[in-house]
Symmetry: C2
Subunit: 233 residues, 2 copies
DNA sequence: ATTATTTAAGTTGTATACATAATTAATTAA
DNA sequence: TTAATTAATTATGTATACAACTTAAATAAT
């Protein structure tokens, strides 16, 4: 019988860092020291480096040449860039399959909406609402048959909502507002009206980026000395 | 005075591999051996590994766990995934800035068109036509003020046109056809008609993917055992 | 006291060596 | 002769060691 392979350390480390970012244990701007991480995990620097490179390619870390890496600092511009792409991918996915949305699809969306409603009634924490919001958007993306698109969209949503801005999410929407916004999208999806779907989803993202922008333009220095780590051409 | 830093080997290696893929020196399916590459370059495996990881994240290489990496094999599906995203990003970029396309922008596009015409008149090689085609599409993307979008679109176009399918490009369009297609896009851009621009660009991509599909469905095995190298969640 | 130069500490980039997993070749059994 | 099992080779994953660069701290000079 074939045994399970030994886990790849670099993947473990990548997961660990993502968890820490999500938890808020690692915050934007925090520097990552390879040696320290390696020691913490009881492994060498080699797999740690690979994990960091991966996380950088995913946009969660940024690097200065020979000066190490830190958790990505989200300037208002970077937030906008990510949101524009999220909005584009999600709205277009939904618009393209608009006519072929099934009853089952609608039920899936509705069940998430109902969970939101229930969470409000039960006075649940914001965390849960945010989680349900992500679930809703993921359900939309799952309508696409393009795995490359789904992977990309996941990446952007990770950068913005679930990870780097996790701590801000709870402050820009009340649970009721969050429910309203997703209700509107749900209704649009049920209408199967391509243009309406596109418009509603984009409006939602535009509103989010507008509300988020306020949180980031205060403390941080504008000088984005981020440098691409690899050749462009 | 500050001297230029010593070049980062991993970046050099990444450039080298990209060049070889572009030249056709490395073809889809060719396996990459770290040790061999390191020896060729006269360096150790460490920077080579980093370069390979980068190229994998860019979609140019694919890896099997513990079985190394090879140049990405483009199945018809993968081609479609990439083209859909290229079409989406490019058409949406153009559509969003439709009303604000300046005379200067139009001149830039026209100059490329004219170069194409001249290349035909001079009986130039297909390579040059393909190059001008890329230039045209890049000019469209440069209308976007979203660098993240531009970087992504560059990545997709790299995977498809300039690199992995370079050898096929010359066979799916005659120079005259290529000129016609870009002429149509140019006219749409000049009209500043958002919907028309969107439609024309998408039609161009749809036609390309259709014509390309034929080339890839013959020889290659369908079993895409590609594996994501890092955790999804 | 302030600025400039130098020196030292610390971190990343690279090299080498070893361990582990997988493919290929070889050997043995049916 | 063929199939299956085992040995050997090969390539990746990881560990350790060293070199180069960056940052800062400390000393010297104005």
């Amino acid at each position: 019988m074939k045994q399970f392979s030994k886990p790849i350390y670099s993947e473990e480390v990548a997961r660990l860092i993502m968890k820490r970012i999500r938890n808020g244990n690692l915050k934007p701007g925090d520097v990552i020291r390879e040696a320290l991480l390696a020691e913490e995990c009881g492994i060498s620097r080699a797999p740690v480096r690979e994990a960091l490179h991966y996380l950088e390619s995913e946009g969660l870390l940024m690097s200065h040449q020979k000066r190490g890496k830190c958790v990505t600092i989200l300037t208002p511009d970077v937030i906008r860039y990510n949101y524009e792409l999220s909005a584009l991918l999600e709205s277009e996915t939904a618009a393209q399959v608009a006519e072929s949305i099934t009853e089952d699809d609608q039920k899936k969306f509705l069940s998430i909406i109902e969970k939101m409603r229930a969470a409000i009634a039960a006075g649940k924490q914001y965390d849960e609402h945010a989680e349900l919001g992500s679930e809703f958007h993921k359900a939309i993306l799952d309508l696409s048959d393009n795995p490359l698109l789904r992977a990309l969209a996941t990446r952007f949503s990770r950068v913005i909502s679930k990870f780097l801005l996790y701590q801000h999410w709870r402050t820009i929407y009340t649970p009721q507002e969050l429910l309203d916004r997703h209700m509107r999208i749900y209704e649009a999806l049920c209408s199967r009206d391509r243009e309406r779907i596109r418009r509603v989803i984009r409006e939602h993202y535009a509103e989010s980026v507008e509300r988020l922008a306020g949180f980031c333009e205060n403390g941080e220095k504008k000088t984005d000395r981020r440098r691409a780590h690899f050749p462009k051409e």
